[in-house]
């Protein structure tokens, strides 16, 4: 039995979590997943369309790693991971819409490329009637569309990361939350550990899945051959009663920089548009703020692929997410280094990062083996993670039984999405310590009121379960507390305004 090797994965976004899950299959690996936020998936992973791309976008000549891993990741999610991990997703397929003759060449190129990349069932639809059958809201200007039935979408990408991470932890991965990597230690050209804000973690292997911070982390190990800058995308989400919606995921013909603004209807039935693409400076890795120009740009671009969009006053949420764009090459940087043995980069995981993640994980295993790791499979590894079936997805009879078994199911916490207090308590038991953590595990606060009715009620439940005063409950961890004290906390302070 080869000796135990310690692996430290920096970053519990979708890439890091998937790597952790795959590495947890091996008996002789002690896997540590390190994340600086108080929950998993809070970087780029939580703020995107959640689309599981088919894989025809990535040019295998220019971006061979992306091209290889995207369609592979798609197949892994579709055929295994979403089922094993009980991650809600649907597979409507996508249409890349050409709105003039000049774009047809691009469609044909994507078709060719897709076939090369191993994308199944791909084809171009020319017939107007067939286009409308596939998508009733397709723009009347559509002349043709590339149809990729294998494309899908997660209900919410953060939910996917949570599912993967929970399974990894159930298989022995040690999750270190609120732990920031501040240094990578190496001795005689061999990695020896990670210095973190909470102490040192010994490691024979360090995998950099640091997303927007991958460049800085790579430099900690002395590896400095790429840059990461954030590319911001902004999104608009409509209420469930906003029509018209779409049946498929709709893309415009892509440009050099990006796939373009997507129009899709989420698994829960909300129309969503986005992202636009705006390149930011490297220091702006916290710039997840939306802008009027960005939202307007996404709105305008989205008009191109559909017949009609719902009225703009039916928007219930707008948000922005950052993708980690690598330079000089826009391909994933997944490799090891001769002068720092044991350090592996999984950096620059830009779009299609969410889709590719399971395949990125296999790639990491292959690299480790190639670098001399002896990996022994566990005899008993649990591939499954089950969610409790949500109250609102259960029949009335089951709901009745649930509330008889647990009276907290008879107390509604989130009215818009029908999430019960029992489900909130369960989410806290599964690791949620913040309002956003509850949101991504239960769908609470994601309905039309966006939390204005239920947020405080949920905060009270958190306060009770975590045994803290309710004003100390946070949205996203320290620094985001919902209040500052009880009602008398400011009374009698100097500087009150005089009546």
């Amino acid at each position: 039995m080869p000796r135990t090797e310690r692996v430290a994965i920096i970053g519990a976004g979708v890439s890091g979590a998937c790597v952790a899950r795959v590495l947890s299959m091996y008996r002789n690996l002690e896997v540590h997943l390190i994340e600086r936020e108080v929950d998993v998936g809070w970087g780029s992973s939580k703020a995107n369309t959640g689309i599981i791309h088919a894989g025809y976008d990535d040019d295998p000549e220019r971006f061979p790693v992306r091209a290889r891993l995207c369609s592979k990741g798609n197949a892994l999610w579709r055929e295994a991971w979403t089922k094993e991990l009980d991650i809600p997703a649907n597979w409507p397929g996508d249409l890349v819409v050409a709105t003039d003759e000049g774009q047809i060449g691009a469609l044909e190129m994507l078709l060719e490329r897709g076939k090369r990349n191993g994308v199944p069932y791909l084809g171009i639809v020319w017939d107007r009637k067939e286009l409308e059958e596939l998508e009733s809201n397709i723009t009347p200007n559509a002349v043709a569309a590339l149809h990729a039935p294998s494309a899908g979408q997660f209900r919410h990408p953060a939910e996917a990361v949570i599912g993967v991470a929970e399974n990894a932890v159930s298989n022995g991965v040690r999750l270190h939350l609120a732990t920031e990597a501040i240094g990578v230690e190496a001795r005689k050209g061999q990695v020896s550990g990670v210095k973190t804000s909470r102490g040192r973690i010994e490691a024979d292997w360090v995998i950099n899945a640091g997303g927007l911070y991958a460049e800085a982390i790579s430099k900690m190990a002395g590896v400095d051959h790429f840059r990461i800058h954030p590319r911001r995308g902004e999104y608009l989400l409509f209420s469930k009663d906003a029509y018209p919606k779409t049946e498929r995921i709709l893309f415009p013909t892509p440009t050099e920089t990006s796939k373009g603004v997507v129009v899709t209807t989420t698994v829960d039935g909300n129309l969503m548009l986005g992202p636009n693409a705006q390149d930011l400076r490297r220091e702006e890795s916290e710039a997840t703020d939306t802008t009027q120009e960005g939202l307007d740009s996404a709105w305008n671009e989205a008009q191109k692929v559909v017949k009609a969009l719902p009225p703009r006053d039916k928007i219930i949420r707008t948000f922005a997410g950052l993708r980690a764009e690598p330079e000089p090459s826009a391909d994933f940087i997944i490799r090891a280094y001769d002068d720092v043995d044991g350090f592996i980069n999984a950096a620059g995981i830009r779009s299609p990062g969410l889709t590719s993640a399971p395949a990125v994980a296999s790639e990491i295993v292959a690299i480790m083996k190639d670098r001399g790791a002896k990996l022994v499979r566990k005899r008993r590894w649990n591939p499954y993670r089950r969610r409790r079936k949500p109250f609102r997805e259960s029949s009335y009879r089951v709901r009745d039984r649930m509330s008889n078994q647990n009276p907290l199911h008879a107390k509604t916490a989130c009215q818009c999405e029908l999430v019960t207090e029992a489900e909130i308590v369960e989410a806290i038991g599964r690791g949620a310590t913040t309002l956003d953590g509850i949101k991504f595990r239960t769908q609470a606060m994601m309905g039309d009121c966006q939390g204005s009715f239920c947020q405080f009620r949920i905060a009270q439940i958190l306060a009770r379960e975590l045994n803290i005063p309710v004003w100390k409950v946070t949205k996203t961890g320290s620094g985001s507390e919902i209040g500052i004290g009880d009602i008398t906390v400011l009374v009698g302070r100097k500087g009150e305004k005089r009546a």
Binding site: D486, I487, T488, V491, G492, E496, R498, A499
Partner: protein, 128 residues
């Protein structure tokens, strides 16, 4: 209050119409003359009172121990001098009631010697 012209403007709060009142200070201290803009006699009375001795009803909450809610809403049973409002909040912030509290209960008898009483306006049961 405009120091140069001695003119005072305010919005009447007696009824939802909210007339804009304009008035001048008289020769005697706190004397108000030439009240213009009110659509009823109550407004004129309000203006005179308000300029001389503005008063407001206080609405706030008082902490409650062992109740189904941590605070109970309260009001003063009559208006108190406007400039004492913040001090009044300070005073009621210092007390804590024990549940149960019933709407109508008098929580403080003579708030800051104004003669006004602080009255609970809601019920708070003992916590179950």
């Amino acid at each position: 209050m405009n120091q140069e012209t001695g003119k005072l403007r305010m919005i009447c709060i007696v009824c939802p119409l909210g007339c804009e009142l304009e008035m001048e200070t008289g020769r005697e201290p706190k004397q108000i003359v030439n009240i213009k803009g009110s659509r009823c006699s109550k407004g004129k009375e309000y203006a005179a009172r308000e300029a001389a001795d503005p008063r407001r009803v206080l609405m706030a909450v008082v902490k409650v121990r062992d109740g189904n809610l941590p605070v109970v809403s309260v009001k003063t049973d009559e208006p108190i001098p406007k400039q004492m409002l913040l001090e009044a909040v300070r005073a009621i912030s210092k007390i804590e009631m024990e549940a149960p509290v019933k709407a109508g209960d008098i929580l403080i008898d003579n708030l800051l010697s104004t003669g006004a009483r602080v009255v609970a306006t809601n019920n708070v049961r003992k916590a179950d």
